[in-house]
């Protein structure tokens, strides 16, 4: 099967005037469809920069990046916006829901930029919320929802456009451990049931343990890439 993500010798240099910061120094990575991948690393290891490039929010200084077969390294801002809209679903650490806006409308947001009609938006958003188990909270605003519920709304928002890849940046960073397990269980089920590709960025080993494959970064390079030890189940790691 063709990889859904193929990075080849990606570098990213930030020019801060006096010094050039090499955030990525040649990263190559392939992710197959249905993979559940965790990117780990300390802060400053380059994992956020990698995440931004994977999410088409940033462009690499050199190297090539094929997303679902398309070379996205040199696309324009508008083309990148379209890729983000159709191919990627984002889940953020701090949920990033619009305040004073119902769960339903938050989930509709990506469809708005795809020109989907109001009725279809409503229908798709409602079914995405149902899927994350929030059918009865559709008209609640973020302030009326718990942290776990807010993150589930955000997951519904990431799912609503049926993306190929879901990028979750520290999705449990603002949640207590019990809720974190719930969220990771949901992600796990999602990957197993739908075959969506999940890329998880985290610095917590017990969260990374939910993934099938762990990529460790250090100083802008991948230092370790291994499949999860089949002997340990995630529940044992968290326990």
């Amino acid at each position: 099967m063709d990889p859904v993500i193929r990075l080849e010798e990606i570098t990213r240099v930030f020019d801060t005037g006096d010094v050039q910061v090499h955030a990525l120094r040649g990263v190559s990575l392939q992710v197959s469809p249905g993979d559940c991948l965790a990117i780990m690393g300390a802060s400053g290891s380059g994992k956020s920069t990698l995440m931004n490039i994977l999410g088409c929010l940033d462009r690499p200084s050199s190297g090539s990046y094929h997303l679902v077969g398309e070379d996205v390294a040199r696309l324009s801002r508008n083309q990148l916006a379209q890729i983000r809209n159709r191919t990627i679903g984002f889940v953020f650490q701090n949920f990033n829901l619009l305040a004073r806006t119902s769960a339903l409308e938050n989930v509709e947001l990506p469809l708005l930029y795809r020109g989907v009609s109001a009725r279809d938006r409503r229908r798709l958003a409602a079914s995405a919320l149902e899927r994350v188990g929030l059918a009865d909270r559709m008209h609640h605003g973020p302030s009326q929802l718990s942290g776990g519920q807010q993150q589930r709304v955000a997951i519904a928002r990431a799912l609503v456009g049926s993306p190929s890849v879901i990028l979750a940046d520290e999705p449990t960073g603002n949640l207590d451990s019990k809720t974190s397990v719930e969220i990771m269980q949901f992600f796990r089920g999602l990957v197993d049931d739908t075959g969506v590709t999940l890329v998880l960025v985290t610095h917590e080993p017990d969260i990374a343990a939910w993934a099938d494959r762990m990529v460790e970064m250090k100083d802008g390079l991948i230092v370790r890439d291994r499949l999860r030890d089949q002997g340990t189940s995630p529940s044992e790691v968290t326990a």
Partner: protein, 409 residues
């Protein structure tokens, strides 16, 4: 995104901050309300001025006699009678542009009837005067040449005098009225005119034939008119040429050498009317100009708040971009928010302006004239203000880097 969707998204964003949106738009509301009410009031004032001049008679010229000179002291206009009865006849007969010419003499006098008395103006004139003023009798009739030739003791009274001597709704035709204790019989009541352009009551007056006036009320020199000559030109356009012709005629008749000053003055009332109109128009443009400035200030208010809003919603903008909003979509969203704000402000302003104009107009007793076109222009202009002042903040929003924006605290 369709236009409707864009506007919907903008409205949703504005409704999330109702109080701020309302306060932001208030500047536009006040600006547009000022434009609408000022132009309506200006138009009303102009219409009022022109209707007052029309009721006075649009084709009127007034000829004043010269000023007296005693030693070094000069009297005012009309202090030295220089206009003769023959002058009046010649103006009336010989100048083609003149249709009417009437003497106008006046004294204040105490009038009495039915045991009531009243201080009023008594005017000596001829039937021509009523022609000039286009002033018919409401009941009875106006005195004519026969009364003039006979020096008949007849009077035409104004409505205010009737009200004060006889009471309202009383027809005094046939009754006696004593002017300075001389009995006159009332043959007509002049139609109600109301206040003139200078605010005095036109109906507080008694008219008597000029011959009777001179014989019974105020003597004076035989050949001179102790007052002015009122002239009615054949049309408003003819007032200019009539004025020139009268001046030429009177200079000849008074044997004034070229280079010497006139011993009379001819005043063209229609010129005064147009000068008044011009003044009202200038005032209107001035007020409308000030109102426009306030509209622009309102626009700056919108820009200010939009800039704050863009900073405050940096994370939202970053999120929208991450979810696939193109820079143009962000730009359009914020411009639309500014336009929705300013257009709603414009609509509220039109309503408030019409309300204010209505109130002021009833206070001043002016006609209410609101040009529908003006409201449309005001709302359109406020929309343009929204685009112009919303563009910069919106452009700033669309240039944000989604990565930075998402991290913004």
């Amino acid at each position: 995104m369709t236009t409707v969707q864009t506007i919907w998204v903008a409205c949703r964003a504005l409704l999330r901050n109702k109080m701020r949106s309302f306060l932001t738009t208030l500047g536009i509301v006040i600006g547009v309300a000022a434009v609408i009410s000022m132009s309506a009031i200006g138009a009303g004032a102009r219409a009022r001025v022109s209707s007052m001049f029309e009721s006075m008679g649009a084709n009127i010229l007034i000829v004043f006699s010269g000023s007296s000179r005693q030693g070094g002291m000069r009297g005012g206009q009309g202090s030295q009678p220089t206009l003769t009865w023959a002058d009046l006849d010649r103006i009336r007969e010989d100048i083609p542009d003149v249709r009417y010419a009437a003497p106008m003499m006046g004294i204040g006098a105490q009038v009495m009837a039915e045991g009531q008395n009243w201080q009023t103006q008594v005017r000596g004139t001829t039937a021509d005067y009523f022609g000039i003023r286009n002033w018919p009798a409401a009941s009875g009739e106006i005195f004519g040449d026969v009364d003039e030739d006979a020096g008949a003791k007849v009077a035409v009274v104004g409505q205010t005098v009737v009200n004060n001597l006889f009471g309202e709704d009383y027809n005094p035709v046939g009754q006696l009225i004593r002017i300075n204790n001389i009995p006159f019989s009332i043959i007509g009541v002049a139609a109600k005119k109301g206040n003139n352009a200078w605010g005095s009551d036109e109906d507080d007056v008694v008219f008597v034939p000029s011959s009777t006036f001179r014989a019974k009320l105020q003597g004076g020199l035989q050949q001179f008119i102790p007052g002015t000559i009122m002239v009615g030109a054949v049309s408003q356009e003819a007032t200019g040429s009539a004025k020139t012709a009268i001046e030429k005629l009177l200079r000849e008749r008074h044997r004034i050498r070229p280079g010497n000053e006139d011993d009379f003055t001819v005043r063209n009332m229609s010129e005064m009317a147009s000068a008044q109109q011009e003044g009202a128009r200038t005032m209107t443009s001035l007020l409308a100009g000030i109102a426009l400035v306030s509209l622009i200030v309102g626009g700056i208010g919108i820009m200010n708040i939009m800039l704050v809003s863009v900073t405050e919603r940096t994370r939202e903008i970053g999120l929208r971009m991450a979810l696939g909003a193109k820079p143009a979509a962000i730009l359009i969203q914020f411009v639309t928010e500014a336009v929705v704000l300013s257009v709603i402000g414009g609509l509220l302003g039109v309503a408030a302006g019409i309300g204010a104009a209505r109130y002021l107009v009833t206070t001043f007793d002016w006609p209410l004239l609101i040009e529908p076109m003006f409201s449309v222009i005001a709302v359109g202009f406020s929309g343009i203000v929204g685009v112009v002042f919303g563009l910069y903040p919106a452009w700033k929003a669309s240039r944000l880097d989604p990565i930075q924006a998402l991290r913004f605290e």
